[in-house]
């Protein structure tokens, strides 16, 4: 398929997943505020902006990291390239350039999501976004069903899956990081009732509480980390995301009959999770582990770009496909 098209599908999928996860971020923090009984003005909202890496952008236009500003920034601020509104716009623009590749149902679903978010963005008040977030999540689930059932599981489908799962792995990692930052300064809280409530909120925000309970019963720091980083079966766990991405990459390269460096980088990343052990991770520091993981994720993303999306491939190195092979 066209390099540009592969890239657009990958990013369409990434941006949709990102929008969904930003909604989850805000949601988990809002739940924490309620569950912990914090005074609203003392609640911590700054870490949310910090973990999306958009602090500088935020400070340019807002004075304080209060709930109102942070929520505005993350949901409907068009000047924040990672706000829900901006993500959905990017997803739609990408979908528009590949409209003939994806199914009409998929396009209409993204289009409907865009109109939904755009409509909400024009409201002045930002209280009570719970229902809005639910609509965004449902739209994403709907889209996931459409891509599964209305599109052939072809090369384009695999690029969409890689985009979605790499983004998800990244965001699950960031979510753990936020929680870690909020919690750990106060070491005595570990495994206290408060702690259980907080980790429960994290699990709920990834709709993983029920699946978690079947394995570990009680919400607790170590086990939640084990579950969200290393579980091979839960679809928002980092390991599941990476293994599934690796499978898609393998299918794409074998169908195209090519070898790419991205496969090696992918294997390295997979290996680092296969050999990891949750106690070692926690002893060395969760934050440090996540930092390293995200660095490696960027390496993989860049390798995918070089292998499939870059338009300035050197003529000499790229293969010219004879006509009868097409």
């Amino acid at each position: 398929m066209l390099s540009r098209v592969a890239s657009s599908i990958y990013w369409m999928s990434r941006y949709l997943e990102r929008a969904d996860n930003v909604a989850r971020f805000i949601d988990v923090n809002a739940r924490l505020v309620l569950d912990m009984g914090w005074e609203r003005d003392k609640a911590q909202w700054e870490p949310l902006v910090r973990t999306t890496g958009d602090e500088d952008n935020f400070k340019k236009r807002y004075k304080t990291f209060d709930e109102k500003n942070v929520v505005r920034f993350l949901t409907f601020d068009e000047k924040n390239p990672n706000s829900i509104l901006a993500c959905v716009q990017h997803a739609r623009e990408n979908a528009r350039t590949v409209r003939e590749i994806i199914s009409s149902e998929m396009w209409e679903s993204i289009n409907a999501l865009y109109h939904l978010v755009e409509k909400h963005s024009r409201k002045r008040k930002l209280d009570d976004l719970q229902e809005f977030f639910t609509l965004v999540h449902n739209a994403n689930h709907h889209f996931a069903g459409l891509i599964e059932n209305t599109m052939s599981h072809n090369e384009a489908w695999h690029f969409a899956r890689m985009g979605r799962l790499l983004e998800r792995a990244d965001k699950t990692a960031r979510m753990l990081d936020v929680k870690y930052f909020l919690l750990l300064p106060d070491g005595e809280f570990v495994d206290s009732p408060h702690d259980t409530v907080e980790w429960g909120a994290v699990l709920k925000s990834v709709t993983g509480f029920e699946m978690y309970r079947k394995q570990f019963h009680r919400a607790q720091y170590r086990n939640v980390s084990q579950f969200l980083i290393l579980d091979p079966q839960f679809s928002r766990a980092i390991r599941f995301c990476i293994e599934t991405t690796a499978r898609s990459l393998e299918i794409v390269t074998s169908e195209l009959g090519i070898k790419v460096k991205a496969s090696e980088e992918m294997q390295k990343l997979q290996m680092s999770l296969d050999t990891a052990d949750v106690d070692t991770i926690l002893n060395n520091g969760l934050h440090e582990f996540i930092d390293m993981f995200q660095f490696n994720l960027n390496v993989v993303d860049n390798a995918l770009y070089q292998a499939f999306f870059a338009l300035d491939k050197k003529q000499a190195t790229a293969k010219i496909i004879a006509h009868n092979e097409v």
Partner: protein, 495 residues
């Protein structure tokens, strides 16, 4: 909301005869509409608009930040063309396309028609649309104009005329197909009873037309659609056509020339392209040959084309027969190449380059429509009867300075058709654009785009200037009896 009190106001009306009674072919449709309550009709109109919005069938409105996407206004009352009328139009368009194709080939090769003084040599060779780069070229299978969207209008006598030929990159076909798919859901019973001919197989016909152009010896040609990109106002259509044919939609940056072959940059490597349905204008196609600043095209593509390694549809250079001054000679062109009388008439045209015509035009500006020979879309026009003295003065000056750039035609009393306007049904002026494909044979799609000027009294149907569209039902025969929509809601259309 119904047809009681509907006035034709002395215009030729597509559905209602001069005596106020429905035309025979429209009777069933009108009874059907009259049987619906105003609410129901309004509800159906709204549902159709919602479907267009949902499907994102929108065009961009420039310079308007919020709500920049608008749907192309759609009116659910269809326009009807009878089987008898259609038989004549179909024959007439085939005749015209055949003659124009011979004309273009002649101009870029032997120029016999110029030697025989049927058209003034200077008039043809001085056209901005004459591409000297195409001199000596014969495109694959000798076909230049593969896809055409001819603009037809009807005057107050009910006779059809060709207004413009649109031989370059005519757009609008996607609206024809989408309007039909929406109207089949909006008025399923009426549609079924009327027996309109299908248009949904356009994609198959287009694909066959393009495949036919592939260089000899290639069994499984690689066909693509080439678009300027998502910011082009017709992008939706480019993507729609690629989807209808199941072929890649490429932008200039997706293509590269290797050893005089056009290659597509893919995830696997470079793939050879054999046929390109390009929706980029001639001048932007190849910066090495035409407009040097074009970022939309593919440097070197003309050389591949000249060597016969890739086919382009439509062929570069077809604009020569689209020049509005050349248009005036189409009746002679048909006679010269085919020895036949034109089946569909031309609108009488005054060529300002000709002294006698020019004097007539300058003396009668307030009753004529003046057009720039190389512009379309309603741009560069003066509509005499609604113009100001100032505008007429400005055009008189332009005509005297560059007479070759202008033609003039009488202002036609365009036919009208019933249209839903707010809470009533009123007559509005329309034109009609059928689509013609030239491959192994010439195919005229039985249907087309009916554009409607929604502003009362307006003659300008362009979407950028307050125009909308309608579905066009070309009837296969006599309409059958009808069952009312409201009697059996929710049953799907059978067509």
């Amino acid at each position: 909301m119904d047809f009681h009190g509907y006035e034709t106001d002395q215009f030729y009306d597509e559905l209602i005869a001069a005596d106020g009674k429905p035309r025979a072919e429209a009777r069933l449709l009108i009874e059907h509409i009259n049987a619906m309550s105003s609410n129901e009709l309004r509800h159906r109109q709204k549902a159709a608009e919602r479907a267009l919005h949902q499907q994102g069938i929108t065009f961009s409105v420039y310079g308007n930040k919020k709500g920049t996407e608008k749907i192309f206004p759609f009116d659910i009352l269809p326009r009807i063309i009878t089987a008898k009328e259609w038989a004549v139009l179909e024959k007439g368009m085939k005749q015209r396309i055949k003659a124009l194709n011979l004309f273009i080939n002649d101009i870029y090769n032997d120029q016999k028609i110029l030697d025989d003084n049927v058209i003034p040599r200077d008039l043809v060779l001085s056209s901005d649309c004459y591409l000297k780069e195409c001199q000596g070229l014969t495109p694959p299978k000798g076909i230049w104009i593969h896809i055409t969207g001819t603009d037809l209008v009807r005057d107050d006598s009910g006779e059809f005329y060709v207004l413009e030929d649109n031989l370059r990159c005519p757009s609008g076909i996607s609206y024809v197909l989408q309007n039909r798919s929406i109207l089949k859901r909006t008025l399923p019973k009426a549609f079924q009873a009327m027996g309109a001919l299908p248009v949904s197989d356009y994609g198959d016909h287009l694909y066959e037309t393009l495949r036919h152009l592939a260089p000899d010896g290639i069994k499984n040609p690689n066909v693509i659609v080439l678009t300027p990109g998502i910011y082009n106002s017709a992008y939706y259509e480019h993507s729609f056509l690629a989807q209808q044919m199941g072929v890649p939609l490429a932008q200039g940056s997706d293509l590269i020339i290797i050893n005089d072959h056009v290659m597509l940059r893919t995830t696997r490597g470079f793939e050879q392209v054999d046929v390109i349905y390009r929706r980029i204008d001639d001048e932007f196609l190849d910066p090495e040959v035409f407009n040097k600043d074009s970022l939309l095209g593919v440097p070197g593509i003309m050389e591949c084309y000249r060597k016969g390694n890739v086919a382009l549809a439509n062929a570069p250079g077809t604009g020569i027969a689209d020049d509005k001054a050349v248009y005036a000679y189409v009746p002679q062109i048909i006679k010269y190449y085919l020895g036949e009388e034109p089946i569909i008439k031309n609108v009488p045209t005054f060529i300002c380059d000709d002294k006698k015509d020019r004097d007539h035009v300058l003396a009668n500006l307030e009753s004529l429509v003046v057009k720039a020979v190389n512009l379309s879309g309603g741009y560069g026009m003066l509509i005499g009867p609604v113009s100001t003295a100032e505008e007429r003065e400005e055009f008189a000056k332009k005509i005297q300075e560059n007479p070759r750039d202008y033609i003039a035609q009488p202002t036609l009393a365009l036919s009208r058709t019933p249209t839903i306007i707010g809470d009533s049904i009123e007559g509005r002026h329309v034109d009609f654009r059928p689509y013609i494909l030239f491959g192994k044979s010439i195919f005229v799609l039985p249907g087309g785009l009916t554009r409607v000027a929604l502003t009362k009294g307006s003659l300008i149907v362009n979407s950028s200037q307050g125009g909308g569209s309608k579905d066009t039902w070309v009837l296969g025969g006599e309409p059958k009896s009808i069952m009312h929509e409201s009697e059996n809601k929710g049953e799907p259309a059978n067509a």
